[in-house]
């Protein structure tokens, strides 16, 4: 705990200016799952970095509603890798229809957070 606290303080005090770097891009498409309860969706995620498919990444997919930031979000699920390089799948169970911001936390070869806003009917 103390180590984390010291590191956070150091990061705040001495971190240099923000820099641009090769970051992850994502394309996300979600479809409702047939025969399931309402608001359950299968999402396919295509990840790329510098134009190339990003393989071997671990993706945690969370979601919250932009209309209620911080106050309405779902627990993240881990996406599974599909056969095609850079393609992943995750099943989401949302609370209600509307606009949701999907939060993709990428770790592994690179660490990044990508947010994609989608409208769920």
């Amino acid at each position: 705990m103390m180590k984390g606290l010291k590191m956070a303080t150091l990061a705040l005090a001495f971190a240099g200016p923000g820099v641009a770097w090769a970051q992850v891009n994502a394309d996300v498409a979600c479809e409702p799952v047939d025969g399931q309860q309402r608001f359950v969706y299968d999402c396919e995620i295509m990840l790329s970095e510098q134009g190339k498919p990003l393989e071997g990444a671990t993706i945690q997919v969370g979601a919250d509603m932009p209309s209620m930031p911080m106050a309405h979000n779902i627990a993240p699920v881990t996406a599974s890798a599909l056969d095609e390089p850079g393609r992943y799948a995750a099943r989401l169970k949302l609370d209600m229809a509307g606009e949701w911001a999907l939060r993709l936390d990428v770790s592994g070869p690179v660490r990044d957070r990508v947010v994609e806003v989608l409208n769920f009917e």
Binding site: G4, L5, M7, A8, T9, A11, L12, A13, A15, G16, P17, G18, V19, A20, W21, Q23, Q60, G62, P66, S67, M68, P69, M70, A71, H72, N73, A75, P76, D95, M96, E99, A101, R103, D105, R111, D112, R113, V114, V115, V117
Partner: protein, 305 residues
């Protein structure tokens, strides 16, 4: 620690700044439905500072707080003559105006081949300071709570000062305070500036953790929550709004007890508490009783000697 727990606790910390912001205005008698505007202004100001200007995080946070303070002080000065319902409506109107303006504002800069900056209703992406600088979610969570703890402690100390007592006096009866020679105008503008700074810091922290902000996030729902946290938690201590946030996000939201019906439950809870304890769970009377409790009283008595 579980990543979702860290995320929830970080959310509790960040939205607590909004609750504290509304609380500071409530102290001086101002009911604001518009603190989400300063949360949003702080988020945009800090995001621009780090993502476009390349400032370090601490300067981005300070920039968010300063711009939030300036904007809220300006609104406070413009609405000085208003009170009660008129002030509440004016703050709501200002917040909606800001949200619409942010929805029209496009200012993107090419940074290493990517357009970065506010893009109207498409939002402001790539506020990636913490990812670019290897700051983990855990470290950022600690930073959020350190800043929140500092804000709460400073507010508690401030409330014990003469100025803090004057602010409560203004909140109870501004006319009486004016008759006693208090410069109500100056104090209300100062309170507005402090409230704006608190909301601005919260927004600045949120922008960097989320990496993405959009004007739709700063709608009246967020402001009503911020106000409700003070009303639920109580106006007797700065810990009140934190209790309100814990009840809403920590218990109702995180437990998924009521799923999509949470907002209805939350609204009902606010209504019940307004009837049962009009000044919240930790109201002034409760805090006074707590201070009169033997361990506290004996400490105070010893200090008195």
């Amino acid at each position: 620690m579980d990543p979702f727990l860290i995320a929830v606790l970080s959310n509790i910390g960040m939205i607590s700044f909004l609750g504290l912001s509304a609380y500071v205005l409530l102290l001086t008698g101002g009911i604001s439905f518009g603190q989400q505007a300063f949360f949003g202004i702080g988020a945009y100001a800090a995001g621009i500072a780090t993502a476009i200007w390349g400032w370090p995080l601490w300067m981005g946070l300070a920039h968010g707080a300063a711009v939030g303070a300036l904007a809220c002080a300006a609104l406070g000065a413009a609405t000085l003559r208003l009170g009660g319902l008129h002030f509440a409506v004016a703050t709501l109107a200002f917040a909606e105006m800001m949200r619409l303006l942010l929805g029209m504002w496009r200012w993107q800069v090419d940074i290493a081949g990517r357009l970065v900056g506010p893009a109207g209703t498409d939002g402001f992406r790539d506020i990636r300071y913490i990812f670019a600088n290897g700051i983990s979610e855990m470290q950022y969570f600690i930073l959020i709570w350190l800043l929140l703890a500092a804000a709460v402690v400073l507010l508690m100390l401030f409330e014990r000062t003469r100025t803090g007592m004057v602010w409560r006096m203004i909140g109870k009866d501004a006319e009486l305070a004016r008759m006693l020679g208090v410069d109500v105008v100056r104090h209300r503008i100062a309170a507005a500036a402090l409230a704006g700074a608190l909301a601005g810091v919260g927004g600045a922290l949120y922008a960097h953790l989320s990496t993405y902000i959009e004007p739709g996030m700063f709608d009246p729902m967020l402001g009503i929550h911020g106000l409700a946290y003070g009303i639920i938690g109580g106006l007797g201590t700065p810990l009140g709004p934190l209790l309100g946030v814990v009840v809403d996000i920590g218990i109702l939201e995180s437990s998924r007890l009521f799923s999509g019906y949470r907002m209805i439950v939350f609204g009902g809870l606010v209504a019940v508490i307004l009837v049962w304890r009009p000044r919240g769970l930790l109201d002034e009377a409760f805090v006074r009783r707590l201070r009169g409790w033997r361990p506290f009283r004996s400490t105070l008595e010893e200090k008195g000697r």
